[in-house]
């Protein structure tokens, strides 16, 4: 019963977004049916399209998870981008120089990438504990530092001299992660992380404290929760998730190296997904897949119609707006209707 309402709201909001977007497609003198047809064909229509959608979604699942867990705990980690970049860079560099058998090397690199992200978020946690610095500012600013520091490292010390754009050398072949029926193993890792995080949030006492802290920090503090450690832990965990996303993109993506501008939007998309998902973990999974579908389908849309793939960014924005708007709009609408009915009972 409690599921019916959010699901119907979601469907309504997405339908409304597509409707609004179709007006703009018409203004562009294209046919919405054709455009959406192509989007579907290339995003979901065949096993090939579907598996590509899953592959496009795995970094989004992880960065979305990172933002959702942070926000639900009242910890404003906006540093997914920077944590992602460090995860990717450390993995890419170690992937060139570290010599391990693949069964050990791949997990080790993934974990080390995650730990790099955690360490970067850990800086914000340290500033918070030591200097009471708001993580909202520190994680945001650390993004810029991460961006230029990783770019420097990829441009000078670890540059692949044969590359046209600043990038590191290709990681060792034995670290390339495989696919299962065209689906990246990284996707299954991301899925596993969703369940692991769900277990942390809903089954452990630290997860309980984190959630209560998100509801009401003063309540948690007075109730005896270990809010300082909880906050640090959440920052480390969410940093790890973003870093892991970066590492997996190196190990299981298409490039297998760190290049300038890698994973351009995964960090911010994660924040956006968390907002759409209202910080719910399984909702995060759903919206990450949905955004993955849009991104993947956009390629086909550009192929088949004259609508540029950037249009998907526009569509995304409309969906976020209508989703958030419809959600609160529907709530106040139903509230208003109930109030009307109640008054009707009163005055006959």
């Amino acid at each position: 019963m409690s599921l019916v309402r959010p699901i119907s709201q979601t469907i309504l909001a997405i339908a409304f977004a597509f409707f609004v977007a179709s007006i703009f497609i018409l203004l562009h003198h294209s046919s919405p049916l054709e455009v959406y047809g192509a989007l579907y064909q290339y995003g979901l229509g065949s096993w090939f399209s579907f598996s590509n959608t899953l592959n496009a979604a795995f970094p989004l699942i992880l960065t979305g998870l990172s933002a959702s867990i942070a926000f639900m705990s009242g910890v404003v980690n906006l540093g997914q981008h920077g944590q992602f970049l460090w995860g990717a860079l450390v993995c890419a560099v170690l992937g060139v120089y570290l010599k391990l058998p693949s069964w050990l090397g791949i997990p080790a690199l993934a974990v080390l990438g995650g730990l790099s992200g955690a360490a970067w978020a850990g800086l914000a946690a340290f500033f918070k504990r030591k200097y009471k610095m708001d993580e909202f500012i520190s994680t945001l600013m650390l993004n810029f530092l991460a961006e230029y520091m990783t770019l420097y490292l990829a441009t000078y010390p670890f540059l692949d001299p044969k590359a046209y754009v600043p990038s590191t050398r290709l990681i060792r072949r034995e670290y390339f992660m495989t696919n299962i029926f065209d689906v990246n193993v990284a996707f299954f890792v991301a899925l596993f992380m969703v369940f692991l995080c769900w277990w942390f949030v809903w089954r452990t006492w630290r997860g309980y404290e984190a959630r209560m802290m998100g509801y009401n920090k003063l309540f948690a503090t007075v109730g005896g929760c270990d809010v300082e450690t909880d906050t640090t832990l959440v920052l480390l965990l969410t940093g790890f998730l973003s870093g892991l996303a970066g590492a997996l993109l190196i190990l299981n993506g298409t490039q297998h190296r760190f290049t300038k501008g890698i994973g351009a939007n995964f960090g911010w998309d994660g924040v956006m997904i968390a907002i759409m998902a209202n910080n719910g973990l399984f909702q995060t999974l759903f919206y990450a897949l949905f955004i993955g579908f849009l991104k993947n389908g956009a390629v086909g849309m550009e192929f088949e119609t004259s609508v540029p793939s950037e249009f998907v960014l526009f569509l995304q924005s409309i969906i976020v707006l209508t989703l958030v708007g419809t959600r609160s709009g529907l709530v106040s609408l139903t509230d208003w209707l109930r109030a009307k009915r109640e008054l009707g009972k009163l005055v006959k």
């Binding site: 089954r203 309980y208 003063l218 309540f219 007075v222 005896g224 109930r338 109030a339 008054l343 005055v347």
Partner: protein, 502 residues
């Protein structure tokens, strides 16, 4: 009839029915008391009259004319003004500046301080309000600031003055002064609506009394000596009620909470918020803290729970020095019912179960290494819901759906079931209806009888007098008196609160 409100209904979205077919009228030059429990609809009715809230149904007539009061500005034009419970004044301005703020006398666009001050002083004199109009607002007492609000309305020429629970934060002496001023206003032709649930005050000052219960008007009666507090209380609650707790004196045990020379100096203002506070609470006694709000009670509680570190002094609980402890380390030693249940005592969006297991979650059987045992949590919550008679649909309902009384029961159930030797309660009955208040008072007596040390901070002097074995009076961060409620009466406590000798 000056004002007629006819058949007023109000439904707050989604489905909170605040008023059901309420008729209310005001005559020129009367003091009309509006009484009822919390949630009876008093505030809503007056907010409708003063234009803050729109009615869902019904009509309002002023001087026989049908009117739409869409905003406080319209209300002011019709001569209706309200003094809210939370005073909205600019603290750094002088009293007269606050009065004229918004419609200042000016000449060529320049503010005229002298003229304003003079006008406000004349106004105060005319209506017999004793106040220094040139005082800085934040340096005035609550009673003084309330006078500014009243002057503010008079300055705008209102005929109908609505006072929403004006005596809630006043001492008995200040209340008396307010009543005198209300009589003077009435004698000069003003009409006053006195919203209150203090029945003795209502009976003392009002000409007519309207009783609301759960959004319905029960009656409007003339206060002509044929009505008494018991009858009024029955109308308010709808049944016969017991008003005092049965109190038996018991011998006290060893000291549980010992506070020595506790001083807290504000880091921002350098002001001494707590100044050498000494107090002791023994096992098996209820110790009350009385005082006008803002005299250090809030800070004392914050230091006791560990939210603020004292500048100097020492706190011992059950013989252990906890001065340097934070809330987490103090919780194994004490239970705490905070004043602000919505912002401190509860997480409103969380479930009843999640709220009930707070603090309990730090120990077995709930905590099992890394995990929180969901089954134990559920049976624990179900048990508490049954034991404390929390009216709800089950442990997974959100706390925000509960009534105020049941929300407070969630807090009390959690804290009492911690079974600590010390329990600190800060205004536990504020904003609760009569039945819930009685329930809580019984709980406190039961705690005392089971040999717990109970520290009770309350603004309700009657409650303190009824429940406490000893009362400390706080003023300006000091403990100024330690009194025995069996020996002294309420007015003596009031004198100590104000700092005038009896």
């Amino acid at each position: 009839m000056l004002v007629e409100m006819i058949d007023i209904c109000k439904v707050y979205p989604p489905n909170v029915v605040a008023l059901k077919h309420v008729d209310f009228s005001l005559e020129r030059g009367e003091i009309h008391a509006l009484v009822g429990e919390n949630g009876a609809g008093k505030s809503t009715l007056m907010k409708i009259l003063s234009g803050v809230v729109k009615p869902s149904f019904g009509e309002i007539r002023v001087n026989g004319q049908r009117v739409q009061i869409n905003s406080p500005v319209v209300a002011a034009r019709l001569g209706i003004g309200m003094v809210h419970q939370e005073l909205a004044l600019v603290g750094s301005l002088r009293a007269y500046e606050n009065v004229v703020l918004g419609s200042e006398p000016s000449r060529f666009g320049l503010f005229q301080p002298q003229k304003s001050s003079q006008m406000v002083k004349e106004l105060a004199d005319k209506f017999g309000l004793k106040i220094d109009v040139n005082a800085i607002t934040q340096e005035l007492s609550i009673a003084g600031r309330q006078k500014i609000e009243i002057l503010k309305q008079l300055y705008r020429n209102v005929d109908i003055l609505i006072l929403d629970e004006p005596t809630a934060a006043l001492t008995p002496q200040e209340s008396e002064e307010l009543f005198d001023e209300m009589f003077k206003l009435r004698d000069r032709g003003k009409t006053i609506v006195f919203v209150s649930h203090k029945l003795d005050e209502v009976l003392r000052v009002s000409d007519r009394i309207t009783v609301l219960r759960r959004g319905e008007k029960i009656a409007t009666v003339k206060n002509d000596g044929n009505i008494d507090a018991v009858r009024l209380a029955e109308m308010m609650v709808g049944k016969t009620i017991r008003t005092t707790s049965v109190k038996k004196r018991r011998p006290v045990g060893h000291p549980v909470l010992v506070v020595k020379d506790l001083t807290l100096i504000s880091k921002t203002s350098g002001k001494k918020l707590l100044d050498g506070v000494n107090l002791t609470v023994h096992a098996g006694e209820v110790v009350g803290i009385a005082g006008v709000e803002g005299n250090g009670q809030k800070e004392l509680i914050e230091v006791l729970i560990g939210l603020r570190k004292p500048t100097s002094g020492r706190i011992e609980i059950s013989g252990e020095d906890v001065t340097s402890f934070g809330p987490r380390q103090r919780r194994p030693l004490m239970a705490y019912v905070p004043q602000d249940r919505k912002n401190v005592g509860l997480a409103l969006k969380a479930t009843i179960m999640e709220n009930l297991i707070m603090t309990h979650h730090m120990n077995p059987p709930l905590k099992k290494k890394w995990l929180l045992d969901r089954n134990v949590a559920k049976s624990f919550a179900t048990q508490l819901i049954r034991d404390f008679e929390i009216v709800c649909r089950g442990p997974f309902e959100r706390v925000q759906n509960l009534s105020g009384g049941n929300q407070q029961k969630v807090v009390v159930a959690r804290e009492v079931s911690l079974n600590r030797r010390l329990i600190v309660l800060d205004q536990p009955t504020r904003g609760l209806d009569v039945a819930s208040t009685q329930y809580l008072r019984d709980q406190m007596i039961a705690l005392r009888d089971s040999d717990k040390a109970v520290l009770l901070v309350s603004a309700d002097l009657d409650e303190l007098m009824d429940l406490s074995d000893r009362i400390y009076v706080m003023r300006s961060g000091h403990i100024v008196a330690e009194l025995d409620p069996q020996v002294v009466d309420k007015t003596v406590v009031g004198y100590h609160m104000l700092g005038v000798s009896a």
